[in-house]
Amino acid sequence: MSNEELNAMQRGFHRKDELEDLNVFPSRDKLMEKRVALIECVEEIPCNPCGVVCRVNAIDKENLCTLGKIDWDKCTGCTMCVAVCPGLSIFLQSMKNGKGYVTMPYELLPAPKVGMRVRLRDRSGKFVGEGRIVNPTYQARGDAYPRWVVTVEMDDPELSYEVRAIQVLEE
């Protein structure tokens, strides 16, 4: 069955245009200027680590259940919120020198290394191209939120709007 007639809530993932309507993306200029966080969390669930962890107070969470709103002028792209989000729904995105960059949480095997080639998946899991890992960091603060945060580089900057997961290709 095609999923075409379903809306995002029935499908369980968003398309890019639906997220644009929800004002998830900053302006193109902002993405060219610096790396910023996008919160693709669209549902009011009781959760607040992103607002607490942000060092520059760029994420505004009124109370436990309201959606986090991000101030892209303040955001420094430090990746803390990417690592902490229990729903794995915060990403960093930027476009520089004609290339696209996406930073995402990664909880699979094999452990990521700089320069590894990866297949890029979009929000529906479809393979949309290939890229490289440029900056894998393992973030952990004691027992809290230990996980890999991986930045991948892709040749087509437009793809950075779509790519949200990777599959590491065997070297």
């Binding site: 379903l6 693709e40 549902e43 009011e44 729904s89 699979l108 899991g125 027992d143």
Partner: protein, 529 residues
């Protein structure tokens, strides 16, 4: 030889202990000290553990926590041992139970006797009862001791005596442990019992990070949270932990809770206050062949994957789109197991949190709503499933059946409160669908009878954080009524009540909140009279 064990995992490290050898029908098999017999056999590729009594249908690993009886085998000469709660020992001899009925059953089935006929068959006149029973036992496979019984110590079989305590907590999951921590810190004498070999309840299987407030559980992985709480409890000398102990009975007039200890010894516990935090049972689905080995509950799959590090199969499907099913799908992806799809009849939306659904789909696992399962395929184990599309009135769309190849089917369609122990206290029970099923009427201090409290999933199906908060609150209220603790009790009660309210502030909890309000009364004693 097949070995389904997972040796590399992105989150977990499996400390399996010493490698040992067990024997299945005289065939040696690799096992580890920390594994149960059933887990070790499963890791070696054995899917059929026993046969059903009447129709001799294959039975396999199902619940993995000692609830069903599908894994009964003969261990070291003792028949009908539940292998999923028996730990491996070096040189253990395990046998599949074979009966003459295996050959007779096709003929018996042809007679189509109702169960009641079986029960009455050959019981009268009285004198034929005993010899006839021997024959029937032999036929049905309920087991007879063929060899000498292994010697039981009399102390193991008898009563271990009576314990006195102030606060007895039944169930050592997040709710029970938090109650023990809060009350224990304030000097209440506590016994906490759990029927598993360790505390932690279902937390030990949760490898994902939790939502909620950073003050409580948010951002932590469930099993780490469990370890932290166990460590906190071990600091408290007034908290006594009894694992591998099941609470089996309650006698209101004598105020005694009866326990079953390993080796079938009994233990009586008399307490001033009780907390029931027994959690929940999994619901199942009705479809053809849903008893085949390879059809599992979500909890069974989680146990295999995250406690023992064993693959349930190579390619599976999930039924249900609640949070449990979505999380299990993610755990399967992490363990490198192919998930062919998450199927559910949901029409309005994916039932679990959206972020969970998004996270599994971006790794290539499709969620296919408006579909349901028709039957599982296979003779001895699952080899596939027939799925069908649904009309908006939940009838099957004719001709839309298709086959999905898979070697296991995981059912994650929700939970029922485990109310059987609650009922022994003679509370007023009501059936509330928003809370998962039968739950007792309680008051604002979580009491459902004069001296028994309730917390966690057995009072309302929610999540681990709310269970923790409820447990904490119940522990604090019990402390207050026992006249223990200081002024910090009230402050903490306020803090937890506020946190619980905030946690239930999302649109997901609207129905639940209303339902809880409805079954909460001012004075519980008036309701019971």
């Amino acid at each position: 030889m097949t070995d389904l064990r997972i040796y590399e995992h992105p989150i977990l490290e499996f400390n399996r202990g010493k490698e040992i050898t067990i024997f299945l029908d005289d065939k040696p098999m690799k096992a580890f000290k920390s594994e149960t017999v059933a887990a070790a056999l499963y890791a070696n590729g054995l899917k059929e553990f026993s046969r059903s009594i009447k129709y001799r249908r294959p039975r396999g690993f199902f619940c993995a926590i000692g609830r069903c009886s599908a894994c009964m085998m003969e261990v070291d000469g003792v028949p009908n041992v539940r292998t999923c709660v028996t730990m491996c020992k070096d040189g253990m001899r395990i046998k599949k139970q074979k009966y003459p009925a295996d050959y007779l059953s096709p003929f018996l089935n042809l007679m189509k006797l109702p169960p009641a006929r079986y029960m009455r068959l050959m019981t009268r006149p009285g004198f034929i009862y005993n010899p006839a029973m021997k024959v029937m036992r032999e036929l049905t496979g309920l087991g007879t001791f063929k060899k000498e019984l292994p010697e039981y110590k009399s102390s193991n079989m008898g009563c271990e005596g009576t314990l006195e305590t102030e606060f007895l907590i039944i169930g050592g999951g997040p709710a029970g442990m938090q109650a023990a921590i809060e009350a224990g810190k304030r000097g209440v004498e506590i016994i906490i019992v759990d029927d598993k070999d360790r505390l932690g309840g279902q937390l030990v299987k949760q490898t994902h990070t939790f939502f909620s407030d950073v003050k409580y559980a948010a951002g932590k992985r469930g099993f780490k949270l469990g370890e932290q709480m166990i460590a906190q409890l071990s600091q408290l000398p007034n908290v006594k932990v009894l694992t591998e102990t099941s609470a089996v009975g309650y006698y209101p007039n004598e105020n005694i809770m009866l326990m079953k200890r390993p080796g079938n010894a009994t233990l009586k516990v008399r307490a001033h206050k009780y907390l029931v935090s027994t959690g929940a049972y999994e619901k199942t689905l009705v479809f053809e062949n849903n008893d085949l080995p390879g059809v599992y509950g979500a909890g069974g799959v989680q146990t295999l994957l995250n406690v023992f590090g064993i693959k349930p199969g190579n390619r599976g499907i999930l039924l249900g789109t609640g949070n449990v099913a979505l999380m299990v799908a993610y755990h399967l992806i992490q363990a490198g197991i192919e998930v062919a799809g998450v199927y559910a009849p949901s029409f309005r939306r994916v039932r679990g949190y959206f972020v969970h659904a998004a996270k599994i789909q971006r790794h290539g696992v499709p969620i296919i709503t408006r579909h349901t399962i028709v039957k599982a395929l296979g003779r001895k184990e699952v080899t596939g499933a027939i799925m069908t599309k649904l009309n908006p009135d939940y009838t099957h769309v004719k001709g839309s059946e298709f086959r999905v190849d898979c070697d296991f089917i995981c059912i994650g369609v929700g939970l029922n409160p485990a109310y059987d122990l609650v009922q022994l206290f003679n509370p007023k029970m009501v059936n509330v669908s928003a809370l998962g099923g039968m739950v007792p009427i309680r008051d604002k201090t979580f009491r459902f009878t004069k001296n028994a409290y309730i917390a966690g999933d057995c009072g309302s199906i929610e999540e681990a954080t709310t269970a923790m908060l409820e447990g904490g609150l119940a522990g604090l209220y019990a402390t207050a009524t026992l006249n223990k603790g200081d002024e910090s009790v009230e402050a903490k009660i306020d803090e937890y009540t506020h946190a619980l309210e905030e946690d239930r502030g999302s649109p997901f909890s609207t129905r639940l909140k209303a339902a809880i309000k409805e079954i909460t009364v001012e004075n519980i004693e008036e309701v019971l009279d």
